[in-house]
Symmetry: C2
Subunit: 342 residues, 2 copies
C-alpha cells in the first residue's frame, strides 16, 4: 500500500501521490498499543461467545420446531401460521403435502456457495437432508454443523457432522486486522458408505493398459476420488496457518461455507428457501445508465469549484463499496447471492 | 426474487427457472418462528452490548495512550516501541517531530468514505483534529463519537460530538433479515462558530437583482448552506424508518460513516494512517487476464460431465462474492477502500 493522499492544510488541491508514512518509533508504539488492545478485545469476544452459549438452548427450540414442521411431524395451529408481516396481497396457498419435503435442497439450489459444491450424482442424497443444525462448542471453542438425513441407500450415518474451531488469538500474519473470533481449522466425520459403489466421493474409472512387449490392450478398473458435496466431510484438518497455499485456499473457502451455514442457513433457513434473503448479484445495475456507452456525466467529477453550487445537502455519497468492519452490532445487512445467473 | 433453481432428485440437469415456493401455511409458520427467534436474538445482542460496555473503560486506556503519543504529550520508552510483528527489513526512521501532527487528517485522506465529505475549505480545520473517540451509550443504547480539535479560528467547541442510537427491534420493513443491533437515528451537536464568516457550512453568494421597472441592477449578498464535512454534525434527527426517500439515503450513508468511525477508525486508527488496513479497490484485478478480450476459458463453465476429471480436490470455489452475515465471530476481515484511484 504505497499510495496516500495527503490533506493539505493550505486548502490546495490535495490529491498527490505520497509515500506511506515512515516507520517511526511512534508508529511502532501505536502498533504495539493496538496489539495490546486486540488482546483485550479477544478476551471480550470470548466472553461474548459465552453469552451465545448461554442462549443456545433457547434459540435451538425455534430450530427444533422448524425441523418438526419441515418433516410434517407437527402441524402448526392457525394462530401459529399468522405471520404478522405477511404480504396481504399474496394469497395463502393450500397444499396437502406433508411438511416441506424440498426445504433444505431448495436452499442448497438457491445459494451459489452451496450449489457449486453439489454434483449431479449428489443431488438425490442432498434431497434427503431432513435438518441442518448448528451446535456451539465450548472447549475448544467453535461450532458443529449437523446434517441429518433420512434413511438412504448411500450411507448408514443418520447425521453427518463438520466441526469448526476458532483460533485462540489474532492471525500472526495480519495481527492488526483482527476483527473477531475466526475459524482456523475444521474437522470432518467418517461417512459409513453402504458399499464402495454407493460412495459418492469415489468413481470407478476404466483405464486401458497396453502390455509393453505384446502390445495387448487390457482394460482395468481404478477407483479415483471425484468431486462431490460429501468431500465437505473430509477436509484437510491442519490449521490454516500451517497449510500450503493450495490447502489455504481450499480451507478459506471451506470456512466461508461453514460460516454461511452457521450465520445464514441455520438461523434464517426460511428466507433462503423462499429466496427473500437472496440478493440478485445484478440488482445493483438495474437503475444504472446502461445504454452501452458512457458520457462524462456518468462519472463523478472531482469539482473543487463548489462556490456556485446550490445544494444544501451534505456530501455524503456513501454506498461506494466501503463496508464497516464486522461486529456484533453493525448495520450491514448482507444477503447471499442467488443461484441461476452466471 | 422470482428465480429459483430446483435441485432435482433424479439427478437430471437441474438448472431450470421456477417460481418462488408458494406462500403456504407452513411457510408462514416458519416465518413466524423465525421472527420469534429474532426477538430472542435481539435480547441476546443487547446482553452482548452490556459486555462491550463492561470492557469499554479498559479498552479506552489504549486509545488514551494513543491520543497522548499522537499529541506528543507522552514519549514512549524503547520497550514500548518494540512491536514484535514489525517488518525487520523496514528501517526505523528517526524524526524530531513532536507527536504525529497529521495522524487524523492522514486517515481522513486515506479513506474514500471520509475524504469524500471533506471540502477544500474544510481541510485546515480537519488538520486540527487531535483525537477521535467512541463512547458507548447505555440508555438509549448506542454510541457517541467525539472529535477533539485544537484551539482554532473557526469554532470555540473543544469537542464536536455525534451520537448514534440503535433501534430496539428488527426493521419492520425487512424483519427476517435482522442481523444485529443497528442504528436507526443519530443526533448532531451545535457548533459555536466564532463568526458567520468562519462558518464552514455556509457561504456568501452575490446575487444580482434587477429592479422591475427601472431596470437598475443591484448586487446583494445572500448566505447559503454549502457542502462541508461539518454538516456531519447537523444531520436530520428523525428515525430512518420515518424519513422520506432522499433523507433515508442520506441517513444510510451517515450511519455507514458512523460505523466506520466506531468499528475501524477508532480501534485501528494506526493501520488506516499507514495504509496497511486499506484495501486497494483494484487489487482484485491484479492477477486477472486483462489483455482486453476474453476467451471461453475466462468463464466458469458449467460442466456436468465430470466423469473424466481427475482432481481429488473438493469443488469449493469460494471467494465468489458471497459473504456470511455479520456476527461477533465471523471470519471476514474486511478492509476499507483506499483513496486516490477514481
Amino acid at each position: 500500500m504505497e499510495k496516500n493522499v495527503q490533506l493539505d492544510a493550505s486548502g490546495q488541491d490535495a490529491e498527490v501521490m505520497a509515500q506511506a508514512p515512515p516507520n517511526t518509533r511512534l508508529v511502532l508504539a501505536l502498533k504495539k498499543i493496538t496489539l495490546d488492545r486486540i488482546s483485550l478485545e479477544i478476551e471480550m469476544h470470548k466472553k461474548i461467545f459465552q453469552t451465545e452459549l448461554e442462549y443456545q438452548q433457547r434459540l435451538k427450540e425455534f430450530d427444533d420446531k422448524r425441523r418438526m414442521i419441515v418433516a410434517g411431524d407437527y402441524i402448526p395451529t392457525d394462530d401459529e401460521c399468522k405471520y404478522q408481516y405477511a404480504d396481504p396481497e399474496e394469497p395463502v396457498v393450500e397444499t396437502n403435502e406433508k411438511g416441506i419435503p424440498k426445504f433444505w435442497s431448495t436452499i442448497f439450489s438457491n445459494l451459489d456457495i452451496l450449489s457449486d459444491m453439489v454434483q449431479p450424482h449428489d443431488q438425490e442424497a442432498i434431497s434427503l437432508i431432513t435438518d441442518i443444525r448448528c451446535v456451539l462448542l465450548d472447549n475448544p471453542m467453535g461450532y458443529r454443523l449437523e446434517f441429518e438425513f433420512s434413511e438412504n441407500k448411500y450411507f448408514s450415518n443418520k447425521v453427518l457432522t463438520k466441526e469448526y474451531y476458532f483460533a485462540d488469538t489474532f492471525d500472526p500474519e495480519d495481527p492488526l486486522n483482527y476483527d473477531s473470533l475466526y475459524v482456523n481449522r475444521c474437522k470432518g466425520c467418517k461417512i459409513d458408505w453402504k458399499s464402495p459403489q454407493m460412495n459418492l466421493t469415489e468413481k470407478k474409472v476404466a483405464k486401458k493398459m497396453k502390455h509393453r512387449s505384446s502390445n495387448q490392450v487390457k482394460t482395468i478398473e481404478k477407483v479415483e476420488k471425484c468431486d462431490s458435496f460429501f468431500n465437505f466431510f473430509q477436509p484437510p484438518e491442519e490449521k490454516i496457518e500451517d497449510a500450503d497455499n493450495d490447502t489455504k485456499e481450499l480451507l478459506a473457502s471451506d470456512f466461508d461455507i461453514g460460516e454461511t451455514f452457521r450465520l445464514n442457513v441455520v438461523p434464517r433457513g426460511i428466507i433462503y428457501y423462499t429466496g427473500e434473503g437472496i440478493e440478485d448479484e445484478y440488482d445493483d445495475f438495474d437503475d444504472a445508465d446502461f445504454d452501452g456507452d458512457f458520457d462524462e456525466s456518468d462519472f463523478d467529477e472531482d469539482d473543487d469549484d463548489d462556490e456556485e453550487e446550490d445544494d444544501d445537502d451534505e456530501d455524503l455519497e456513501g454506498d461506494d463499496g466501503v463496508k464497516p468492519k464486522s461486529s456484533s452490532h453493525k448495520q450491514n445487512k448482507k444477503s447471499l447471492k442467488a443461484k441461476g445467473k452466471k
